[in-house]
Symmetry: C2
Subunit: 611 residues, 2 copies
């Protein structure tokens, strides 16, 4: 059975030494007023969070996978043994309210802290964590654009965890392409709407953890235009509450079935049938897509945290196994009197372990940087600072989502590999991490869609302004440190890659304006995102190595934590960062090599028939 120990030491390092978070948060009146950004308080909260996930959630992870959720004939769903009891403890301890608005009963802690909590929860039990996770998404959307009436009625219940929420987007024929959804809403003329249609892949869509479920549903109001410009957002509660917030009549939304999935078995992935269900408009008519996008950055960062959390826990278990399992002999011998040495001595095993460590620690730094930027975007007193933080979040969120889930999956696979044949056996738990990690690359916008968002929307569509701003930050760092004795070599690699990122962007942009058009963006996007991801991780690793080396030089590395940072940075630049060399070549190859003959290569007559 896998174990997990929350990486509190590393979180503290990133928050305090890398990001200087306490000082930054202290500048924001919201946190200063609420007194929620004190470094000691934050540390205490995270220690408490660690205790909760380690004792309550870790033991339920295998149970949830094995039992899954059960749908009954009446459409009600039972979650795995222990899930409800853990949820009750979770909300009793106030975790559902952690970063929520005090106006509605929240504790007003920074995103930075809830981000760390979510990483831990994902390491411990990603399927369980999706119930409060989806709730949090619904909370954010409602909080951002809901009417005061809706907010006053629903938010206190969601913040307290008495009720949970969902996001209902996908339909059988419409996943990436939400513009073609068919779920429709009719105006009842009394301030309510009748919502009808079928939604699929609704995570936490039906369950027994809470007394009510609040669905946020994308639908087309009768008479609205086709496409994404005719989509509105509706709130559809499972039970329609009275004015005092007591759940009343059962609404016309029923779980038709649960999906059988590769992983995250403990989370109910529901088909929801809306049949004239009573709904309320959230925000403005036909602005549903915009409203969803408000909370998209946080949700996508949250998915990235699944990759991070699963990579971290898989790495931790591979490390423990590598110390324990003895196999083959190494010179010089570790166990001279015994038949074999621990496999951690073999360089190739260390390569797999260090890959997990390097990706997890860089991912954590990126996630915390973005979480702090979300805090800045929302609460900084200076408008320019808010705008700058918002631009950074917009630019790096697709990388956090896609790069972190891709790396998380790869780390889970490599950590499973450390176990040899035992990694394939269910009881060791490693194969569950792989299965659970796989979904992060697919949902919340596939990683291919993230790449298009990055290259097409975030970089090219604003003429490279956001990219240039970040490039300036990198350039400054490079110039300051290229002669540095300890990190100069990394900084040189980083500087060259950052420069090349700029020139690659130009090349793609020019091709896209030429004959290739949008196809050139589509052809390059995935490789481009990975290249960009390495530039960001390279920047973070170089900075972390610099801080760590300074501590070592000052004789302040009693437990070897800083030496570990320095050596992991060295590994990252030697073994992982060089992927950029291949990516630069494949990006430059352009769309031409993908424009193969449809009939000959794919046996497809489609384009020929209509071209």
């Amino acid at each position: 059975m896998p174990t997990y120990k929350a990486p509190l030491r590393d979180m503290k390092f990133i928050m305090e030494e890398l990001l200087g978070a306490p000082a930054q948060l202290a500048q924001m009146p919201f946190y200063a007023q609420n007194d929620t950004a004190d470094a000691d308080l934050m540390e205490q909260v995270l220690a408490e969070a660690a205790r909760f996930v380690e004792t309550e959630l870790v033991p339920l992870n295998a149970v949830g996978d094995k039992e899954g959720c059960v749908r009954h004939d009446d459409g009600e769903v039972t979650t795995p043994t222990g899930f409800k009891a853990a949820y009750d403890k979770y909300r009793a301890a106030g975790w559902t309210a952690l970063d929520a608005d005090p106006t509605y009963g929240g504790q007003g802690m920074p995103h930075l802290i809830s981000n760390a909590l979510v990483e831990m929860m994902n390491s411990a039990n990603v399927a369980w964590s999706m119930y409060p996770g989806l709730s949090h998404g619904a909370y954010s959307a409602l909080h951002a654009v809901g009417s005061d009436e809706l907010k006053n009625l629903y938010l206190p219940k969601i913040v307290s965890g008495e009720w949970t929420g969902t996001m209902c987007l996908t339909e059988p024929h419409a996943g990436t392409d939400l513009g073609i959804i068919r779920t429709k809403a009719t105006d009842n003329g009394d301030g309510t709407y009748a919502v009808s249609g079928t939604k699929i892949f609704i995570s936490a869509g039906e369950h027994d953890l809470a007394e009510n479920i609040v669905h946020l549903v994308l639908a087309r109001l009768e008479g609205s235009p086709q496409g994404t410009k005719g989509i509105s957002l509706f709130l559809v509660p499972k039970y329609v509450p009275d004015a005092q917030g007591r759940p009343g009549e059962r609404n016309g939304v029923v779980c038709g079935s649960l999906e059988h999935k590769m992983g995250i078995h403990g989370n109910a992935t529901a088909v929801l049938n809306f049949d004239g269900a009573k709904g309320w408009l959230v925000g403005e008519v036909n602005k549903g897509m915009n409203h969803m996008f408000i909370m998209m950055n946080a949700a996508r960062l949250g998915t990235g945290l699944q990759g991070l959390g699963l990579g971290e826990v898989a790495y931790q278990n591979a490390l423990a196994y590598a110390k324990d399992r003895t196999q083959m002999r190494h010179e010089p011998r570790v166990n001279p009197g015994e038949s074999a040495d621990p496999i951690i001595v073999h360089p190739d095993v260390r390569r797999m372990l260090l890959t997990g460590k390097a990706y997890s620690e860089a991912g954590r730094a990126l996630a915390m940087w973005l979480a702090l930027s979300l805090d800045t975007e929302h609460h900084h007193p200076d408008e320019a600072a808010r705008k700058e933080a918002g631009d950074l979040v917009a630019l790096l969120t697709p990388i956090a989502k896609a790069f972190m889930t891709d790396n998380g999956f790869d780390v889970a696979v490599q950590s499973q590999q450390v176990f040899g044949g035992h990694g394939y056996i269910a009881e060791w738990g490693m194969e569950q991490f792989v299965r659970d990690a796989r979904i992060g690359q697919i949902y919340e916008g596939t990683n291919g869609i993230q790449a298009l968002d990055l290259l097409g929307r975030k970089v090219l569509m604003d003429g490279g302004k956001k990219l240039q701003k970040l490039a300036g930050t990198l350039q400054e760092f490079v110039e300051e440190n290229e002669g540095d004795e300890s990190i100069g070599d990394y900084v040189n690699q980083l500087g060259k890659a950052a420069q090349q990122l700029g020139s690659l962007t130009m090349v793609i942009g020019q091709k896209a304006m030429g004959e290739g058009g949008a196809d050139e963006v589509n052809a390059a996007a995935v490789d481009y995102l990975r290249y960009f991801g390495h530039v960001v991780y390279g920047y973070l690793w170089a900075r972390m190595a610099k801080i760590a080396q300074e501590k070592i030089d000052a004789g302040q590395d009693k437990d070897g934590f800083y030496l570990s940072k320095v050596q992991t940075a060295r590994f990252y630049f030697a073994k992982l960062f060089p992927e950029t060399k291949a990516l630069a070549t494949t990006i430059k190859a352009g769309g031409e090599t993908l424009a193969v003959d449809d009939r000959a290569v794919f046996g497809w007559e489609g384009r020929l028939a209509t071209a």
Copy 2:
């Protein structure tokens, strides 16, 4: 539900146009005598094989995954619904005998043909295919080193499929490290041995397909030395046969439990408890490891075929889905009157599909090249030709095993990605391909072990002789074709990479002789194997493209098959081969970056405590 169509056209191309197999096999008296290498006959046999796997095995793939195997209290095991009926048809049609020795009832067909059958079977149903697959392994070992008495008694039953076989190697504490196994054998003094111990991870270890199961078991004869030099191979039948081959008394080997695994649920992975079971020595005392290695190349190529087969079928289904699924609009429109276009028009989807196609077709070429080389090694009249083929097989087998299973897994994952959310849902079958493909990277020697075998044993230990021989072949090809109008560019890339492979080998070899020692080999091996794999695939793609271009130029490409080859080669060199650029850098990084401080980085005191 996934579908599958055997790639007969591509197999024919590789066999006849790339390898010139019929002419080569005709030189070998064994096939000439048996008249089993006629091109038309081989084509007919493969067409019949395709019909069998498409109609009998494909429909059982999801069933096997869902039901799994069931162990009863008496240790007997029931396979999934339909498995036994399909096995009965399989052996009634003579497939178990396909490439077996006619002396024992085999049909004496070339390895080349059984290799193609096995690829198809793995695409259709890898869990089912492992039952005859393991049998074939046992057949090969027994055929190679068994006494006439054992061969006469057991081989006809195994060849006919009445009995199946297993390979019993792994123990709970001994996987990679077979030198430390504890299963022991005691001489009964009557020509038999009493075998006792526990073997785990025994594929096809217990089942209801056949009336008897013949276990080949590695064990240490009492009084033999420690380590691999004290291990012998024993035959332990589930039922001890009488002289007429009728199964008699139940032997002391019982299935103690079945493993719950990530995939290949339809195959029984057994814990086998041997308790004084009656066994017979196979081959010589203390030569068990050598005897196993005789059949290792074929078994490892067989594992590579699992990666190939699963990649191929995953690709086929992703291609079908990409033509069918409509999502988003592409300019110019494919379906101008409808809401969306098939996703196959999007370049990033094509990238994923072409990755599957390029790896599958190159993998098929490599596998068939090696299968034909196995035929040559065993049956060529000229000793030098046999030796040369054997050297090639020895050198390239670890690549076939590791590179093909790594690529097969990646292709399965990318093909799943084409399905978006549906790829994560069990009913579409894509997630099963991913789970089933994962084991190929782990068993039959992990891919890390394959890499050590390649770099340490096959390349460095013979002073690079085998590598130089292959490098000569490549060099010749490069010199002949570097000015070629159609493939010159590929050939130049290949030539540079082949040269760099040589210099990288030198660099590692020198480091290994210096301070780094064996750790330098271990540190570089995995990246080295991947680099080498690309050089081999690059060579095969360049050759295939050349043949195809000649056909096009001669106006002989009616159905676009050759154009497909040419364009897939272009994709391969533009998008996949450039991975070599990253690998060259990571290989050169050496072992230094993995020699991190144990205590600081891994929290491990082991080495410090004893050093």
